[in-house]
Amino acid sequence: MYAFHEGGGIPVVDPSSADGVFSLLWLVVALPLAGAAILLIGGKYTDRWGHLLGAALPIGSFALSLAMFVSLLGREEDDRQVVQELYTWFQTGHLDVGMDLLYDPLSALFLLLITGVGSLIHVYSIGYMAHDPRRRRFFGYLNLFVAAMLMLVLSENYLGLFLGWEGVGLASYLLIGFWQHKPSAAAAAKKAFVINRVGDMGMSLAIMLFFITFGSTSFAVISAGAGEASQTTMTILGLLLLLGACGKSAQFPLQAWLLDAMEGPTPVSALIHAATMVTAGVYLVVRSNFVFELAPDAQTVVVIVAVISLLWGAWIGCAKDDIKKALAGSTMSQIGYMMLGAGLGVAGYAFAIFHLLTHGFFKANMFLGAGSVMHGMNDDVDMRHYGAVRKAMPVTYLTFAMGYLAIIGFPGFSGFWSKDKIIETALADNWIVGLCALLGAGITGFYMTRLMLMTFFGEKRWERDVHPHESPSVMTIPLIVLAALSVLGGVMLAGDWIVDFLSPVTGVAPHEDPPLPAIAVTVIAVCVVAIGVALAWFLVGKREVPRVAPQEVSFVTRAGREEVYGNVINDTLVVNPGRHLTSALLTTDKYVVDGVLTGGPVTIGVAAQVGRRVQNGFVRSYALSILGGALLVALALLAVNAV
């Protein structure tokens, strides 16, 4: 069996050298990277066939990943970690930072997700971006993103991971701002960049601390030596890593950029801001299990952040009329679930990854579906202008429905299995956390049903000149594939396969008897979701959806109308508090969180405007500052000496 820490269930990373098909590991990253290089450097010469190349290369990576996955399955369970040493990035003294790639069950699953879903989204984009004159550049950026994301999950050390981490940040920045004619897109790109840098600060500090504590940033070395560091160090490391994860995964309190990031083209939202990049934080926490297992306090913070995020995101999902923003809120919430799983420790890691994969399928599916709807609705994103789209776009409707059923956790669908497991584990760990997770599931049921109803059902509320039509097959085929995956993703749990498969990375949880039988939890969860769905049906499905979001005034009239239906209890007990809570939450999100985050730059700007006045151009003023500095320096020295 694989090596363990003494007393802990966390395995040490101890890979063998790559051979056979694994020696092609570098090619997985190199293919999309080459694509990005060719498309971005080649310029307009590649305009004609650039998108085809851009789509073909991730598919090639996917094929390789698949081959390696199969051959990994063929290996003994204790031999499923492979490292490929590309070259030495730094070497100085005894410090040796290699550009090494690690292929183990965790990265294997990520590889399949990234290249698989990535390829589908590339194919979809051929159709979606067909009329964009800068399509070739778009594919270049997408390829760059895929390469960086693969680097992130394949690196054997934190520095390489950080390289990918920054790379996906850069690609995300470029893609959010892709439609540069929209000022809002540029602003959103900048916001994402700035907030991500806050997270990156945590990452870079963590990496330095790793280096100072362990003399290395390699997973193998750190996981082997983790037991020797003090718990304080591990807690600080855990919190710093969490800060990084929060930035990238849009978790509280660094979530503000995600909703704005929806300014990018929809395939970008699907690939980067739903399926892959935003889950990098979850990957980081799971990958760093050897840190978190030794830092229970940090784990507690992870759980707290996760619970806040999952409820916060869900509420946002309830309140948004913009279909993509509603989905983005949902993404934040779902990543909250994953973080929750990851924060629960050995028992939850595998389920976090499981939910990450299924979420990758159904959320990509729904985003692409939303893109397809927007495509048919002349790029209108307001759900209040939709309604009854199901007849016009049957394929989109059906595939979207599969994703919907998966995310609310309809029994049998992939989301059902993955979310259920997390709720179950959370309840076993701490009943408050478990209840919050259950509540979140209920709200998920509510807002997803609301979204579904507003988009596909009810009356037509289209603009006059809108004629919805089904998208071309280059767009619908990826939808169908993803829908299939959303339905069937649950098979990974069959026989606890994913748990066993990941155990070389995440360790084996000691068996405990849950406080409630698993089947009871499942039933309760399904009931809670059903309540949420029913609520949505009564509040949204049975009423006319106004084309304009109701204002406070109209709300009074509406409230009057509710009386006729006899729903006054419902209103006073659920809707009003819900509405106020939602608006309070949105206000907080918009002003407080945003304010703090944009306040920093503003303060800097003001300080700079004041500060530059000191640079007044007069030599004598400069000399004065030198004299002041001399006094400062001398007094500092004297003061220190006097102490």
Binding site: N616, R620, L627, G628, L635
Partner: protein, 274 residues
Amino acid sequence: MVAFWILAPIMVIAALGILFVRKAVHAALLLAVVMMSLAVLYLALEAPFLFAVQIIVYTGAILMLFLFVLMLVGVDASDSVVETIRGQRAFAIAGGVGLGVLLVTGLGQITLGTAVGLDDANAPGNIQALANILFSRYVFAFETTSALLITAAVGAMVLAHRERLTPKAGQPERAAQRMQDYAEKGAHLGPLPPPGVYARHNAVDTPALLPDGTAAESSVSRVLAARGTVRSAPALADDIEEIEHQIGWAPHAGRDAAPPASTTEEAPATGGEH
């Protein structure tokens, strides 16, 4: 020590004077006072060589260079006492007081004890002892200072020396040019008329009068004309009248007013190049 207590107040007062005198040249002279006093202090500190060098190099050469440049810039130039940068003076005084307090208290409270004195070090003679160190231990730094001096020379050349770009016109060339100007433009061939007929004051600013009584504008320097300080003879004639009146002469009949001299006309080459 007597020398110190006599010279120290003088030096401080002279140095403070540099802060307050308005004319730069006065500042230079006050600096000279400080430097000379310093030289004497060097003597008291058993540094006779530096005494000489201070007077010869510092006061004699460096300070003279300052004075020289002051002459070029204009010896009359004096600072306005109004401070233009807001807060500069207050902060400067505060900073100066801070530094002064820091240095005086900091350096005043140190206990150096009795000085070792330079009797031993100066035993072979101050100059010999200095030379010994200079050319052995500090020989590299000494040689390096040559780089400084070369840099200074090159720098002064670069910034101040203007190379002649056109060949200098000699006497024959000028004569030929003059004839040519006469032939082509009818410029006056002979020397210019001298200025001034009323020699009551500096009369170069008063044009000569031609036989018909008009002012010969080419008789005053173009520079004066450009500055607009040329006087007209008739205007001065009134002054004469007053004086004549004072000394009891008969009133002089004023001539018709000549136009005030505003010489825009190019005077023929007055020699020298522009």
